[in-house]
Amino acid sequence: MSSGRDIRRLSLILLFAPFTLWIVLLIALPHMGMIVLSLREKVAPRVYEYGLGNYIAFAQEPIYWNTLMRTGSMSLLVTVLALLIGFPVAYYIAKIAGHRTRGALFLIILIPLWVSDLIRAFGWILLLRETGVVSTLLQWSGLAGGPVEFLYTDATVVMGLVYTVILFMIVPLVSTLDGMDNAMIEAGYNLGGSGFTVLRRIIIPYAMPGIVSGCIVTFMLTAGSYLTPILLGGKNSSWFTEQIYDQFITRYNWESGAAFGFLLLAFTSLVVWIGLKLSGQTLASTVARS
């Protein structure tokens, strides 16, 4: 009896050991180190003091504020676009497509993920640059009189980001919608509901956990992305992760870079919290059901 319980306890410990190690070694410890680092201020070469100077410097510099707000609002836009495009796709895969095509469709959506972010961004550059494929085609077909530059605008950045993250919207949506009984939709129609009513009152409420968790993931990924905004962005665009990189690498200012990192984490967490409150969901319910 008791040995059986010991074995069960031991296997539980062994099961959780890798997870605990991962959380402690790769997430908790580095973040604690970063907090300490962000509270240090350089007063002279090799001399440091503890204080809130790095956070105060952020508050006093509008450039940093604006960049953070810009990053936040563009990430929200990307999230909304990814939801608007991703929802019909997910609905088609989960509810309309046959069993066999479903697997194939899912695979087609997964394939771009096998290619790295960098290569995908370069793909866009090849297509969109002034001497690129799209511009050449437009000129050849007579739709454009001269070379057209599609790169280096905020619209390009948003498009590139939507393309990069949309997968993380579709996957949770498909798995939520998959669990929905078709009878519920049929019942909605039988009771005289129009397509829109069924969508608004049955499908969306049922899919809410998937929508919310998809939104959280895409928003976090977008706000924390680095390559796509840098490579596709123009001379006026700046992304908050770029500020963090600059602080760490080109300005040797690890202290303020660490503070910026925490500000980004706090900001995105706040946005997610507000989103959860507004949609009436909790983190536990969305994660559990999608």
Binding site: A17, P18, L21, W22, L25, P45, R46, I63, N66, T67, R129, E130, T131, E149, L151, Y152, I230, L231, G234, K235, N236, S238, Q243, D246, Q247, F248, I249, T250, R251, Y252, N253, W254
Partner: protein, 356 residues
């Protein structure tokens, strides 16, 4: 479980590399500074040394060494102006034993310059390896008259020029305004005033710029495709393009091209000093210099280095520099502590400013 095994594997790997024996020379250097052929010849000559290369740039080299307090690499190649303040601040290099380096063949002007820049408490921390300049790259057929940093902002080339938003263009623009930024390093208040003026100038110039380039590859693509007609550039990038299109030449700005010297410095916790000295002496031999320059596009810091360039690079250099241009070179001055922050803020201001 698999994660655990991976972790254990990673730990073992770290431990093993931490106690690397004298047989491994871990080189931290620039993208083209360790051609395969040179490594092969070196390993043939010293069969007991294995060369491991990590490619990087100035800022990342310093960040990597700073993270470990100077461990993990046995030889680094930062630029001459990036050593003094970094060493004062983070203590990541060890003094060189000059008796182990064959300096007899080095170009005295460059050797003395680097020594003067990197001596702390009587210890020398670096010797020169490759040098080159930053200046302008121009398509002769489309922008024949462009010859000053300020010409990049000339409205007749609107939307057809580029630059890298880094400190080089700040310094170049300051020179083009008739100032000497290096002279104001002694008084940082004055340097800030100068930076503010430079920022205003570059913000008005933003309309003229197609895009800021980020690395040699995107600059080359924009220039070769004709999307831009002129740009701020490294001379080595311009020399590479010259071999593909002879209309693209390097133009030293009339106020003087800005010259950098990439050096050899030994990290403080480097574990293979002897091998590092062997590498330094090996790559400065004339026959190796030609191979090295073919890869880097830059000149070695030894006497008569120009004659040792491969033929196509020699032609590109001849098309770019007159002896007067060489005399007019402005070598980057040591960056005093604090300047990186001031320049960083200025660059942020320029990036954040809006234009059409």
């Amino acid at each position: 479980m698999r994660l655990k095994a991976t972790l254990a594997g990673a730990l073992v790997a770290t431990l093993v590399s931490g106690v690397a024996s004298a047989e491994t020379l871990r080189l931290l250097t620039w993208g083209s500074y360790a051609p395969e052929e040179v490594i092969r010849l070196f390993e043939e000559k010293y069969p007991d040394i294995k060369v491991e290369v990590t490619f990087s740039n100035n800022e990342e080299m310093i960040a990597k060494l700073r993270a470990t307090g100077g461990a993990g690499f046995d030889l680094a190649q930062p630029s001459h102006d990036r050593i003094y303040a970094v060493q004062m601040e983070y203590d990541i290099y060890k003094p060189l034993d000059l008796s182990k380096i064959d300096t007899s063949n080095m170009e005295p002007k460059l050797l003395d310059g680097v020594k003067a820049n990197t001596t702390i408490d009587g210890n020398v921390y670096a010797v020169p390896h490759q040098w080159g300049t930053s200046g302008l790259m121009v398509d002769k057929t489309k922008a024949p008259d462009l010859k000053s940093w300020a010409d990049l902002c000339d409205p007749q080339y609107k939307g057809r020029t580029s630059m890298r938003l880094r400190r080089t263009i700040l310094l170049g623009t300051a020179f083009a305004m008739g100032e000497d930024p290096f002279a104001t390093y002694a008084d940082l208040g004055k340097y800030q005033e100068l930076l503010d003026k430079v920022a205003d100038k570059l913000i008005t110039c933003k309309d003229n710029i197609k895009a800021y380039w980020k690395g040699g590859d995107d600059l080359s693509a924009m220039m070769l495709s004709g999307e831009i007609v002129a740009s701020e550039t490294w001379d080595s990038t311009a020399f590479k393009l010259y071999s593909e299109n002879q209309n693209i030449v390097f133009v030293p700005p009339e106020t003087g091209a800005l010259a950098w010297i990439d050096t050899f410095a030994i990290p403080r916790k480097g574990a293979a000093d002897e091998a590092a000295y062997k590498w330094i002496n090996f790559v400065l031999q004339p026959e190796i210099v030609t191979m090295m320059s073919a890869s880097t596009g830059a000149l070695a810091s030894i006497k008569g280095a120009q004659e040792l360039l491969p033929a196509d690079k020699q032609a590109a250099v001849k098309a770019a520099f007159t002896p007067a241009d060489i005399d007019n070179l402005k070598f980057f001055a040591n960056i005093p502590p604090g300047v990186e922050d001031m320049e960083g803020k200025t660059l942020e201001k320029i990036q954040a400013a809006t234009s059409n």
